[in-house]
């Protein structure tokens, strides 16, 4: 009894430990991933091996998790894939606890929070790219994490109120008197994608400073370290309306008859054709229209179903497996992907900036504190 209690007491106190290097190496070799990944997969052999593995567990922050499983099972009716839809915070905490206790059940993770991803599991993640996709997924979408799809995020307005042109042509417009109290922000502390959007902008200096000069014909005077951070501060000083989520933003813009803009994700636009919302994204804005937030797909090292994971990754990357996202406003990271749905087409014309992983890792916590104090 005493022994049991001590064991119980000690177990949770262990912090997330990486797989022992040797174990990790052995698993990678066995699974043929990472450095051991073959130049060409023998998919029949992979399928053969997958059939004798336990069911693959897939954890996603997206509620569409069961749709690719259904199409997957049409191709491989004998493979069992179990999908779990879970919010990012709970997902990461679960993975952390599971690993700390020596359990390696979770096979595949799919989430859109690169900062938390790298922060907590940098050494436990395997970016598996099936050989046939190697050429169509660019290097920056393969490292440090495999980007599966994007969540482009930018400034939205109501096209019924402004049918001719966007009311915003420069991101610094939002800090002017004209926009005081007229910018909607889904609280970045509640919405991960908006947080990543702000942290990314806050880390930019040159582009943001140039946009400032273009707007005000004067060099920027900084109180913060970068022009991007200065922009965030001025935006907060301009009495923005902070709401709970991006859906509140979409709804408010839809109902606005006056000047009102807000930040949103492109995938939220899937409810525009249904008539639920009416908004569109500012085009040709300085310095760029959108931040191209990446959403990752990673194999967890040590899991018992690596071959099933390989097959499922291949399926998700394909047009058919990825359709629940690609055709709903989350563009594929594949360069050869062509959107089939009409309302998605404009995404190819928007100018976008990519996230900087090192900056996200270094600056996210400080930005959270900054926002908490100054909002």
């Amino acid at each position: 009894m005493k022994h049991t209690l001590i064991a119980a007491l000690a177990a949770p106190l262990a912090f997330a430990a990486p797989l022992h290097a040797q174990q990790f190496e052995a698993w990678m070799q066995e699974a043929q991933m990472g450095d051991f990944a073959p130049a060409q997969e023998d998919w029949d052999a992979v399928l053969e091996a997958a059939l004798s593995e336990p069911p693959l567990q897939v954890y996603m922050t997206s509620s569409r998790v069961n749709q690719p499983i259904a199409t997957f099972n049409e191709i491989y009716p004998d493979l069992v894939v179990e999908g779990v839809n879970i919010p990012a915070a709970e997902m990461f905490e679960r993975v952390r606890r599971e690993r700390a206790s020596g359990n390696f059940n979770i096979g595949l993770l799919h989430a859109d929070d690169p900062e938390r991803y790298l922060q907590q599991f940098g050494d436990a993640l395997v970016s598996y790219v099936p050989p046939e996709f190697m050429d169509v997924i660019p290097e920056n979408a393969r490292n440090p994490l495999l980007t599966y799809r994007y969540l482009p995020t930018g400034v939205t307005y109501n096209p019924a109120t402004f049918p001719d042109a966007s009311p915003v042509t420069n991101i610094w417009d939002l800090t002017t008197e004209e926009f005081r109290g007229r910018v909607l922000i889904a609280d970045p502390l509640q919405t991960g994608s908006i947080l990543t959007y702000f942290v990314t902008l806050a880390g930019l200096h040159d582009d943001m400073a140039a946009a400032y000069e273009a707007r005000f014909d004067a060099p920027i005077e900084l109180r913060e370290e970068t022009a991007g951070m200065e922009w965030a501060r001025r935006l907060l000083e301009n009495d923005p309306v902070i709401v709970g989520g991006t859906r509140d933003v979409a709804e408010a813009i839809t109902n606005s008859e006056d000047l009102l803009v807000g930040f949103n994700n492109f995938s939220r636009m899937r409810e525009v054709p249904t008539g639920r919302y009416n908004f569109t994204f500012a085009m040709d804005m300085a310095p760029f229209d959108m931040v191209n937030l990446p959403t990752h797909l990673t194999v967890m090292a040590g899991n018992p179903s690596p071959n099933a994971a390989k097959l499922f990754v291949r399926h998700l990357l394909s047009d058919e497996g990825g359709a629940p996202w690609f055709e709903e406003g989350n563009p594929s990271s594949r360069t050869d992907w062509v959107p089939q749905t009409e309302w998605i087409q404009p995404i190819l014309q928007h100018s976008k900036v990519d996230v900087d992983y090192d900056h996200l890792l270094a600056a996210t916590d400080d930005f959270i504190d900054f926002w908490t104090i100054n909002r």
Partner: protein, 593 residues
């Protein structure tokens, strides 16, 4: 001298150990130690240790190093005003305000139903319990649907403004005022249920005696009823108060738009941001706050000598007559309790059959979300096999937790009631209350860590319903122990003594005498724990696996997909499951609830 001193100390100790309530108490304490102390100790420890994500701030440090960093951040940093002091003040305003209102309304209704001849008693009871069954966000959402105005930048006008053209001031829609009011609607059932149970099992002769001496109605309430139901009042106060400290859903929906944060909302925010250090500190502070409250109330209750109201003497059931206003009062009360009960429910039912929310045309009605197939990849709630499994899991887990909770309620209630005033009783009460204050996510994380590997001879229960049942049971302990204590305190000691004269077997006494007498209170324990388990989300989301999914975890995905129809339909299924639970309780105990 030395010998007699030893003698004096050791004899009562040994005698004590043989007394049933001490044995039961020791068992309860061991269980509480394993399931409550260890998890909380871990949380307290971790609030003092450096988390891996903050290593960047301390070059050279390692995760797990001892640190006061998080306590300093929360209590004495530029952030403190925003993340601690303001939320603390808001938490106190909300908790005190809503507790006072809930107690007044709940107790008044309980007295009307249990002790007067008011009509529509069944309906009133149902209306009080209904809002409590609903997941916390539903009433808050109904509130905004009702009252929001187009002057708020959020856009669309609410129901009231659309229909009547009236627009209410902003503070009615968002902020402290609606938080307090909606929380009263959600939780005044505690005070009502516990007080009704106490009042109906009370010896009526006491009232009659007072009446014969010419006491007025008011005097009877004040001098007879009130002292007798004091344990129930204290229990409801503690439950209501602690719920207020930890409440998250309502302040989140109604507070955030007005920038009103309470401690629980910041705590939630910090867990979603992965800032567990801050979250652990806030958890420890919340536990301490509730601990002090419980200490004060248990001291109050410990000073009073007798609460036994349920004695062997049968009482007749004369009810206080309300006279000629009887019907009017009845209708008034039904209206008052009916609105918060049926309005949200009606809105949910309506929205579960609309092709798009807010479309009220005939063409806009559909049963697809209930029985259809392939609606954007999902089947209707009643036909999808995954949903059916979730329905069954939810029902099964709630049922088992309810049953175990009744056993715990009895054991802990007995140990506390019979050992009233002793340190053991106070300890049991305080420990049992702690899980209530640990945020679900944190409790779930600790359970995951504790039970994801084998412990001693026991195999790992990760991925099984057992783990969910165990975790839910622990999170429901406060309800169980409170309801049990209330029930057991009412049983006069002489009844047990009378039983002891007939048999030496305490289990027989418990089975034949104590359990039947405490039946009502134990059923309250069952219903409360069954309901809370069925709608539990934050805790179980850490523990479910594909095969152990519950309805609440399935529902959140649909909100994210903007398919509220599904979420609404699931909420209605939850209500149905809860009604089945209440029905089972009624059949098992023959009691009206």
């Amino acid at each position: 001298m030395t010998i007699s001193l030893d003698h004096r100390i050791s004899r009562p100790w040994r005698q004590n150990l043989r007394r049933p309530h001490v044995i039961v108490g020791v068992v309860v304490l061991i269980v509480l130690f394993a399931l409550v102390i260890i998890p909380v100790a871990e949380i307290a420890f971790e609030s003092l240790r450096l988390q891996d994500r903050d290593l960047r701030r301390f070059p050279g440090a390692e995760a797990g190093d001892w640190t006061l960093f998080y306590w300093e951040r929360v209590l004495a940093s530029p952030l403190s005003q925003r993340i601690f002091y303001q939320p603390l003040i808001n938490t106190m305003i909300v908790t005190i305000g809503y507790t006072a209102l809930s107690m007044v309304i709940g107790v008044a209704l309980a007295w009307l139903v249990a002790r007067t001849d008011i009509p529509f008693k069944g309906l009133i009871s149902a209306c009080v319990v209904l809002p409590y069954i609903l997941p916390a966000w539903t009433i808050a959402l109904a509130w905004t649907t009702m009252f929001r105005t187009d002057s708020q930048t959020l856009g669309a006008a609410g129901f009231l403004q659309t229909v009547t053209g009236l627009s209410v001031p902003d503070w009615v829609t968002f902020g402290l005022f609606p938080i307090i009011l909606v929380m009263v609607m959600n939780y005044y059932a505690y005070a009502y249920l516990l007080t009704t149970a106490a009042l109906s099992s009370m010896n009526r002769q006491l009232e009659e005696a007072a009446m014969m001496h010419g006491a007025s109605l008011w005097t009877i309430i004040r001098r007879v009823n009130l002292p007798l139901v004091l344990p129930a009042l204290v229990s409801s106060f503690v439950l209501t108060f602690a719920t207020g400290l930890g409440a998250f859903g309502v302040p989140y929906l109604l507070g955030l738009p007005a920038d009103v944060q309470v401690m629980a909302t910041y705590l939630y925010t910090s867990t979603t941001l992965g800032r567990y250090g801050d979250a652990y500190v806030l958890t420890v502070i919340l536990i301490a706050m509730a601990g002090v409250t419980i200490l004060l109330t248990s001291r109050m209750i410990g000073l009073r000598q007798s609460f036994a109201t349920l004695t062997g003497k049968a009482g007749s059931s004369n009810l206080v007559p309300l006279g000629r206003y009887r019907r009017a009062i009845g209708i008034g009360v039904v209206t008052l309790v009916g609105i918060p009960a049926f309005l949200p429910l009606g809105l949910m039912a309506l929205q579960s059959v609309q092709t798009s929310i807010g479309n009220f045309t005939w063409a806009g009605f559909t049963l697809d979300y209930w029985v259809g197939t392939n609606i954007r990849g999902f089947d209707g709630v009643l036909v999808d096999p995954r949903m059916q499994r979730a329905i069954w899991n939810t029902f099964f887990i709630s049922l088992v937790v309810g049953v175990i909770s009744v056993l715990a309620a009895f054991a802990a209630g007995y140990a506390v009631a019979k050992g009233r005033g002793t340190r053991m009783a106070a300890l049991i009460e305080q420990l049992a209350f702690v899980p209530y204050l640990v945020p679900g996510v944190a409790l779930g994380a600790v359970f995951l860590a504790m039970f994801s590997g084998p412990i001693g001879p026991f195999p790992s229960i990760y991925g099984t319903l057992t783990l969910l049942i165990l975790a839910c049971f622990v999170s429901q302990l406060p309800f169980a122990v409170r309801a049990g204590t209330t029930a057991m305190m009412q049983i006069a000691g002489e009844l047990e003594e009378a039983g002891a004269m007939h048999t030496r077997n305490w289990l027989t006494i418990a089975r034949r005498l104590l359990i039947p007498l405490a039946r009502r209170g134990l059923l309250v324990a069952f219903v409360l724990t069954f309901i809370s388990t069925a709608k539990e989300l934050n805790l179980v989301i850490m523990l479910v696996t594909p095969r152990t999914e519950m309805l609440s975890t399935v529902a959140i995905g649909f909100m994210d997909l903007a398919m509220e129809q599904f979420a609404n339909a699931i909420a209605l299924v939850l209500v149905a499951i809860t009604l089945v639970g209440a029905l089972i309780a009624r059949m098992a105990g023959g009691a009206k609830l």
